[in-house]
């Protein structure tokens, strides 16, 4: 004899398993397709042959040194940005929030611009220093926004955080404009590509650089999912349930910034993924974070991997930035969401 509750629980469990399985399958499919596409075409059987050790040197080079790290990087960046967006949306209770709100893109962009301004694009050092600089820029900007929104005795309110975020971003954008105007064409194009969100850090070292951040932060935020559940209620109610609202908000926002900043540092500006992936995930599995967060990481990874594949296919042999594809594919979905429920 089953109670209605048990039947319901089973149904939810089935739904979640289904969503997770479908997500993983889609992700794998996106990864395989993505590995096959590019300047040198490979068919899936080739890919598998090379993966299992039967490739020629040239094939090995293409797959292992170029394709595979980039594919993995796209998925990782997608997952990180999506999680970051989800946390920021729930903590600020603003469905439109994305990592850009905390100044991450603006800060990272300014840092990249300053580097290009002073050292140019061709230096060998760029490969190593740019991600670090972007990370620093993003981190500093978010700290600045948080401090400016912080009021003694009251802490920060979500609305003040948003207002401050908008203002600081506008300021940085203005500064960027002033600086960009004076760039020569190569440097300008480099910055423009970065701002449009192209995954340019494609090598194993970037994967390795991103990995520790995600290995630490993703399990940590999933572990905090119960706190996020309670925080997404009214902040008074959360306080009544024994959450130190101010402290937990700070911890979670810090994680969100670290996640997004590390991704943006290697992937450029793909913030739209951070906006739509959480919405997709919420539609699929509802607002409980223990399920929502992992699914959100999946939807983000699938979205960006798919966008990255498209980015390389549409205008071969050149490619367009992944961020643009993400927005062009994502915005209609978002509009469709709006016109429904």
């Amino acid at each position: 004899m089953q109670t209605a509750y048990q039947i319901y629980k089973r149904k939810i469990f089935m739904r979640n398993t289904l969503v997770a399985a479908a997500g993983i399958l889609l992700l794998l499919a996106a990864l395989v397709v993505s590995m096959n596409t590019g300047y040198t075409k490979l068919i899936p059987s080739d890919t598998f042959r090379i993966l299992f050790g039967g490739g020629t040197d040239a094939e090995n080079l293409i797959l292992y040194q170029f394709r595979l790290p980039r594919v993995i990087l796209a998925a990782m960046a997608g997952a990180g940005l999506a999680l970051s967006g989800c946390i920021i949306q729930d903590v600020t209770k603003n469905p439109l929030a994305d990592p850009g709100l905390l100044g991450i893109n603006a800060g990272a962009g300014l840092a990249v611009l300053l580097y290009v301004l002073f050292f140019g694009t061709a230096t060998f050092l760029a490969v190593f220093t740019l991600p670090v600089l972007a990370l620093a820029g993003a981190g500093m900007t978010s700290v600045l926004i948080y401090l400016l929104a912080f009021k003694k005795g009251e802490g920060t309110s979500p609305i003040r955080l948003i207002l401050t975020g908008i203002a600081v971003q506008a300021g940085i954008f203005a500064l960027t404009t002033v600086l960009v105007i004076n760039l020569d064409e190569t440097r300008f194009d480099f910055v423009a590509m970065w701002q449009a969100g192209s995954i340019w850090g494609s090598g194993w070292k970037y994967v390795l650089a991103l990995l520790p951040w995600q290995m630490v932060l993703i399990p940590f935020v999933v572990y905090r999912s119960r706190v996020l559940d309670v925080l997404s209620l009214d902040s008074c109610a959360a306080c009544g349930l024994g959450v130190d609202v101010e402290k937990e908000q700070r911890i979670l926002l810090f994680c969100a910034v670290a996640l997004a900043a590390s991704c943006v540092a290697v992937s450029g500006n793909i913030s739209f993924a951070g906006l739509i992936a959480p919405h997709m995930a919420r539609r699929l599995v509802g607002p409980k974070h223990s399920v929502l967060l992992p699914v959100c990481a999946l939807t983000g990874a699938v979205t960006v991997s798919a966008a990255d594949t498209f980015a390389r296919v549409i205008v071969q042999p050149s490619e367009i930035p992944t961020g643009i594809v993400t927005a062009v594919l994502g915005a209609p979905y978002f509009i469709w969401l709006l016109t429904r429920k």
């Binding site: 600081v168 500064l175 906006l275 643009i324 915005a331 709006l338």
Partner: protein, 332 residues
């Protein structure tokens, strides 16, 4: 009554400041022209005098355009904030900036030979189309366009159009040209543009002023407004058209200067209270002063190079806005 006097004082003082600033701005620039010459250029124009020509044909239209655009952006923001109940509303929100940007990108990519005036018109058309698209998306569902839905639709449409223009810009290799265009500000404005710009903006400013009482009522909330006998959808429509004309024309000429439309209505509200009959004129004056100032600064700071006006406006406005949002008791 006290607030009326304060507003009146600010308005008249603002006009005085504006006129003297315009005068100053006309005389300053990459080459300084004495005030006496400016005065004689205005009063007894002599087409053979080189300096008279600079004043009348280069500087004056530009300064007039700055003042118009500043007032237009600021009032567009005020009207939007009043009618949508969203304190963060500005022309960027309605998809105007993104629409204009998209149109400019198309122009540069496909009609590189198009002249200045055509691009301005295309840009205006793009802004209007962007605004229309946002409203269309927001009202597609039953129940019509609520505030929240307009905000969401604005974000989505903006993201889409911005990405498309970025894509076009990078693919056709015109990114930097577009950048120069959008931040170029009022640099290329002559009397021909002002002749098109001025009637549009003045008409829309006047209309907003005429509807300011209705906008005040609408700012109390849709239901209250209906209860007070206001034809809400009509007022919305008129405001929408006004905002599109004001912001569209401005964006077409000076590029995306979103921040002006966001902060000056706030400042005006801070000074004059919640009545849009006072907020609209005061924010118009404040916006105009600010824009003339920004334009002046952008020309004189490091001549002959020009610093983008929009960037200036934002750099002045941001610290101020931050201060304001901290002062506000409960930012709503």
């Amino acid at each position: 009554m006290k607030q009326f006097f304060i507003s009146f004082f600010i308005f008249s003082a603002g006009i005085a400041v504006l006129v003297s600033l315009m005068f100053l701005s006309v005389s300053g620039g990459s080459s300084d022209i004495p005030f006496s010459v400016v005065r004689s250029a205005l009063l007894h124009f002599d087409p053979t005098d080189m300096r008279h020509l600079v004043v009348a044909d280069l500087r004056l239209p530009r300064v007039v355009a700055s003042a118009l655009v500043g007032a237009a952006l600021s009032v567009a923001g005020a009207v939007m904030q009043g009618t949508t109940g969203n304190p963060l509303a500005d022309s960027g929100l309605l998809g105007l900036n993104a629409g204009a940007g998209f149109a400019v990108a198309l122009c540069f990519a496909f009609f590189p030979a198009a002249g200045y005036v055509y691009i301005v018109f295309a840009s205006f058309a793009g802004a209007a189309a962007g605004a229309f698209l946002v409203n269309f998306v927001a009202s597609m569902r039953r129940g019509g366009a609520t505030h929240m839905r307009i905000v969401l639709a604005g974000a989505a449409v903006t993201a889409l159009l911005a990405a498309l223009s970025q894509g076009i810009a990078l693919y056709f290799n015109v990114a930097q040209d577009i950048m120069f265009w959008t931040v170029g500000g009022v640099a290329g404005v002559g009397w021909r543009q002002v002749a098109v710009l001025a009637p549009c903006i003045l008409a829309a400013l006047l209309t907003s002023m005429l509807f300011s009482r209705s906008i005040t009522v609408l700012s109390f909330g849709e239901e209250v407004a209906k209860g007070l006998g206001l034809n809400v959808s009509f007022v919305r429509l008129v405001s929408f058209v006004c905002v599109t004309v004001l912001a569209g024309a401005s964006v077409a000429v000076v590029g995306a200067v979103g921040f002006v439309g966001l902060i000056f209505p706030h400042l005006a509200k801070f000074i004059t209270g919640a009545d849009y009959r006072r907020i609209i004129p005061v924010s118009a004056i404040l916006g105009a002063v600010m824009m003339v100032l920004a334009d002046f600064a952008s020309r004189t700071l490091n001549p002959p190079a020009e610093t983008p006006v929009g960037a200036f406006a934002a750099l002045i406005g941001v610290p101020f806005f931050l201060y304001l949002s901290r002062r506000q008791k409960r930012a709503t």
